[in-house]
Symmetry: C2
Amino acid sequence: MAPTIKDIARIAKVSPTAVSIALNGRPGVSEKTREQIRRIAEDVGYRPNYVAKTLISRRSQSIGLIVSNIADLFYTELARGVEKRANEKGYTLLLCNTNRSLESEKRFIDMLRGRGVDGIILATVEKGDPCVRSLVEEHFPFVLINRLPMDPSVTNRFDYVVQDNFSGGYLGIEHLYRLGHDQIAVVAGDLKTSTGIRKMEGVKKAMSDFDLKIDRRLVVDCRYMRNKAYDAAMQLLSMKNRPTAFFCHDDNMALGVREAILQDELKIPEDIALMGFDNIDTASLTKIDLTTITNNTSEMGELGTGILIDKIEGTTHDMVSKIVLEVKLVILY
Amino acid sequence: MAPTIKDIARIAKVSPTAVSIALNGRPGVSEKTREQIRRIAEDVGYRPNYVAKTLISRRSQSIGLIVSNIADLFYTELARGVEKRANEKGYTLLLCNTNRSLESEKRFIDMLRGRGVDGIILATVEKGDPCVRSLVEEHFPFVLINRLPMDPSVTNRFDYVVQDNFSGGYLGIEHLYRLGHDQIAVVAGDLKTSTGIRKMEGVKKAMSDFDLKIDRRLVVDCRYMRNKAYDAAMQLLSMKNRPTAFFCHDDNMALGVREAILQDELKIPEDIALMGFDNIDTASLTKIDLTTITNNTSEMGELGTGILIDKIEGTTHDMVSKIVLEVKLVILY
DNA sequence: AGTGCTTGCTTTAACGTTTAAGTAGTTAGA
DNA sequence: TCTAACTACTTAAACGTTAAAGCAAGCACT
């Protein structure tokens, strides 16, 4: 059995409370006793039991992170930012992967709360997500990253860090328009999520500003999945009047589209223009040279985590942070 | 305050124990009472407190995963496998990122044990790592994935799942040799880790089998970091007698070398041959077409996690699993 | 000398749960 | 009819820690 505070107390011939006081550096024991207790703790290899601490203090110094796919580079970057900031602040990360299931999002939230996490970072909400409402109502600390629920009835009552997806969508179309394209296919991200929806709104605004017709057959929801994007692109490329440009809601899908384009022996950008979104690491490799939209994903994670921890530690008790990060075009040559 | 078992007990006018029995489906209460208690629990939104459960049962249904860099695709894949299996078996994942620091590995292990994880998956051990010894001695359940401590004094006493790095190293050189190369640069992984060391041993065996001279100036330890590999390649390429092939200990570094080669306006594979290791997702993209060595990284994670959980649950109490996964050459055209 | 304050502890109870032991009340068997 | 066994609970203690209250000894001040 791992030694406890009681074992140390017995050896030092003091009460467990004295040991607790001594080891936590609180005033209430003499320096002599404190040193002796510290030495014994060291000798027996004492390791504090955070489970017991958590139970009594109602603080676990841990946070939960819920993402939809850890294999996706975007979420990996996000997780890296979250882990970094959490670790800096002395919090441990519990990682949950929903595989895009709303039902498991709910299960994970319950589980994390049952496990006593001090707060949750949710990167998976969908439009109208019921989880947000209940977290708000129960005043449980949480921060939304990347996605918003877009539910008017709960607006303004939670913290979030997102990127300016509308501008991103706009920038993408604007760029392609300026290059002379008017047959632009849009490989949309999940249109049940705010990122997909807002990007699409930006796309539409740009198309209307530049007098481009929106051809519904050229818009496909590929749910941020590379293989779906590949399939969709293969199909779009086989149309008699095929698009001359593809704007993809993330780089991952853009890479899928890229495979389809190259497989048809077409050249990028000479024959077909291609744009992604997120500026993942792979995008900048030579001969990938993906034109994309950058947003500093890991910073979203860091910022959101910082906000969450401030919230938990009560320094920003009834302040609500709403951060929308700017996005920027990245063109590689 | 979140409702507890006591609140339910008060409402149902039974003892807390009865509620515990009822909700956990154990025999000892009438079906009528059980149903009533279930209904009340539902009504008040009862959520079991796993912290308290853990404290008394000494089981948290959680495991820790320690990796050295979550931004690295290799570890991402590994983590995906681990998360998948853990989740299937009802375990939660606590994720720790050491950023290659041995000191933080030790800190994380202590922290995870203090948090009551039921077991740990260690993917970061270095040669002679002292952490392994103490885990073994204290009989704490853990599984090593990917790397081994190579410490003869603790051999044979722990479970692991690794890939056959020796064969991988051998295969790489053999392949390049058969293509006619005799000036092969080796961009080594961390030579303080078993993966780097074993790959290097395979490399040396192959070189001696094929009568290739080992030129020490052509071997660089780049610690699995892409930018270091890039820098090293830039330097190697500027030598008067530059190598005609690069064998990299992981794909990540291979991509760094690739940038250096392409930047020198050299062609792969015509001017310079390039090989990686791990077969990360990016390797198979068209125009990356990286020749690499595959090993099914996420399977390593799944297998290791399965072994750990079996260990925890006592089904394989004093059995030691030592799994070495085969590797295979992947050549893309 | 008596009062009050400080120091350095100890004791008790609590956090939310489970486990073990106990106890009424009912049923069954001889 | 008595005992044994079962059912459906309850009570008490425990898991490892901390917070709150208590207390004895020593000291300072009047």
